[in-house]
């Protein structure tokens, strides 16, 4: 059995721990973290607007600082998850990719012929104002709708229902 664990910026070890309790150690685990370039590209497009032209942000040093920050954070997230998996005696590998998180997770699952995708329900919900009931984040929702295999959705333990 091949399992893709969609690792967000945080919460990787917790996801691995809870998943190991459910499926045990008889599986091949692939940890995937996707660096979401979307908001950053939107930000850069905006900064290049006609009256607010700031091409500087498309070139060093801000470009380099942003790349470095994303790489560092992504690598730290998967390393943390990988360490948790190995500590639990699981056979695991890690990968960091850049792109649209929901599409990348689905494509990666197809590419790897995965049997299961494990994802936190809060993936894609971070940073959005909580103005009403939210079931799952948009990344998790897209994966549920488009995954080529089964999906196991983990809920945050401290969810307090509506709002």
């Amino acid at each position: 059995m091949r399992i893709i664990c969609a690792i967000g910026r945080r919460g990787g070890p917790e996801l691995i721990g809870r998943l190991a309790e459910i499926v045990g150690g008889h599986a091949e685990w692939l940890m995937l973290h996707v660096i979401d370039k979307g908001p950053r590209h939107d930000l850069e497009d905006f900064l290049r607007g006609p009256l607010h032209r700031r091409p500087d942000h498309g070139s060093p040093p801000h470009e380099m600082a942003l790349d470095e920050a994303e790489e560092t954070a992504g690598r730290a997230a998967v390393d943390e998850a990988l360490a948790a998996a190995r500590q639990a005696g699981l056979k695991a590998e890690a990968s960091v990719r850049a792109g649209n998180p929901e599409r990348t997770v689905v494509e990666f699952a197809s590419e790897m012929q995965a049997d299961l995708i494990a994802i936190s329900g809060s993936e894609g919900a971070e940073g959005h104002p909580h103005m009403g009931p939210v079931s799952v984040g948009h990344t998790a929702r897209f994966v549920i709708d488009h995954a080529p295999c089964d999906v196991l959705l983990f809920r945050e333990k401290d969810r307090s229902g509506i709002l």
Partner: protein, 424 residues
């Protein structure tokens, strides 16, 4: 019934505003404004000599815009923004909420002394990188930067270039500015922080490891120190100049030139980058709009509009303040706050006999600075919000944003107008 001449002039004005709003075929705002100005000149709505005099008299505005942009760009090259973000990370001491408050504080300080554009355009990517590295949710911090850029825009005359347009045309000094706008400013900043802290409360509960803070790689420590000292001097000079009716452009240009000399002295000057950091199209846009708005003023349209607004307010002073603030805010949304500010300056000129004319000037400043947050058109911060969320997609729709905007901003405008009125 207006005559043909007036109708043609009004049509050119409205067409110019429409092109600025809609930007058909991606026509830049500056081209639209210059096109409108050319038509107004060709149609005889403004005489060429009058246009030249008008533009020459606005030297303080052009000089301030140039100096302000140069100071921000050179401060960025010295590493000031990275260092401030790093300090905010230190002040946060591992708490997401404390870091959030620190970002608001840094944003308010940069807006107050370097203008709202410096916060929205330069601080935002720096804070984005910081939040990413600390593995925090990025969007609340990005929104904090872009919104504080608007809500802290009326702390000082130099906090938003729009303020300079008003101060240059309508007069006034720092004392008067603070008398009318300090309380609304404090209220709006506090309200902004409180509402956002509540909205993003779940993400801000996160903690971070301060050891993850990046080491700031300054291009040259001496140039950095020089820039810090100079920025403090510029801030003091801005306050002193605004208090004594001294042209702010001279302070801004002097500061820019000294920073330029310092960058050259410490071999940190990147001319190509500096040239790109200055939005040259802004000068063309303002030039075009100065002429277009003068043309409608010559036609008496702004006087009529002022008369209508006066009639609408009746004898109520609070009504007049509210109407001017709300009308300016709405116009800043529908078009862009530069042309709306110029129209309101002309309208206020026509309302000079109004008993609370001076307060109305500041009500217009307040509306023009804050208004763009109301809906989806016309604001840097709201455009950014929507651009990001459109891509992110599902959690918050345009309608939801609109609900937030029309809930929060009218409260700010009403409360701010009330505070201006209470201070009459």
């Amino acid at each position: 019934m207006p005559d043909l001449h007036t109708s043609v002039g009004a049509a050119i004005f409205l067409a110019t505003l429409a092109v600025i709003m809609i930007r058909p075929y991606g026509v830049p705002e500056a081209v639209a404004a210059l096109g409108g100005a050319a038509l107004m000149l060709a149609g005889g709505f403004v005489r060429p000599a009058e246009a030249v005099t008008l533009l020459v008299n606005d030297w303080n505005v052009y000089g301030f815009f140039l100096g302000m942009m140069a100071i921000s760009a050179l401060a960025d090259q010295a590493g000031i923004f990275e260092m401030l973000a790093y300090r905010a990370g230190q002040w946060g001491r591992g708490s997401g909420m404390r870091l959030y408050l620190a970002v608001f504080a840094v944003g308010a300080m940069i807006t107050a002394f370097l203008s709202n554009d410096a916060t929205a355009l330069i601080l935002t990517p720096v804070v984005y990188a910081l939040a990413t590295r600390l593995r925090l949710a990025v969007l609340p911090f990005v929104f904090a930067c872009t919104f504080i850029a608007d809500t802290a825009s009326f702390l000082l005359p130099v906090s938003n270039p729009i303020n300079i347009l008003f101060m240059d045309a309508c007069g006034g000094n720092l004392g008067e500015f603070l008398h009318h706008l300090l309380l609304p400013s404090i209220f709006c900043i506090g309200f902004n922080i409180a509402v956002f802290a509540w909205l993003f409360r779940r993400d801000l509960r996160m903690s971070y490891d301060p050891a993850l803070l990046p080491v700031v790689d300054l291009p040259d420590r001496r140039y950095y120190n020089f820039t810090v000292v100079l920025l403090i001097l510029v801030a003091v000079a801005y306050v002193a100049a605004a208090a004594n009716d001294f042209p702010l452009s001279i302070v801004a240009l002097s500061g820019g030139m000294l920073l330029f000399a310092g960058a050259a002295r410490y071999r940190c000057l990147d001319m190509a980058k500096l040239g790109k950091e200055i939005s040259w199209s802004l000068f063309a846009f303002i030039t075009g709009m100065f002429i277009v708005v003068r043309a409608v003023e010559n036609l008496g349209l702004t006087t009529s509009f002022g008369g209508w607004l006066t009639g609408l307010a009746g004898d109520s002073r609070l009504g007049a303040v509210l109407i001017i603030a709300a009308c300016t805010a709405l116009g800043a949304n529908l078009i862009n706050n530069v042309p709306m500010a110029l129209v309101m300056i002309s309208v206020l000129g026509a309302m000079h006999a109004h008993p609370v004319n001076r307060a109305l000037v500041y009500a217009a400043v307040f509306g023009a600075d804050l208004g763009p947050n109301l809906t989806t058109v016309g604001s840097l911060a709201t455009m950014l919000w929507l651009l990001i969320l459109r891509r992110k997609g599902l959690e918050i729709s345009t309608l939801e944003y609109f609900k937030l905007g029309v809930t929060v901003v009218p409260i700010m405008i009403m409360a701010g107008s009330l505070l201006i009125w209470l201070n009459l």
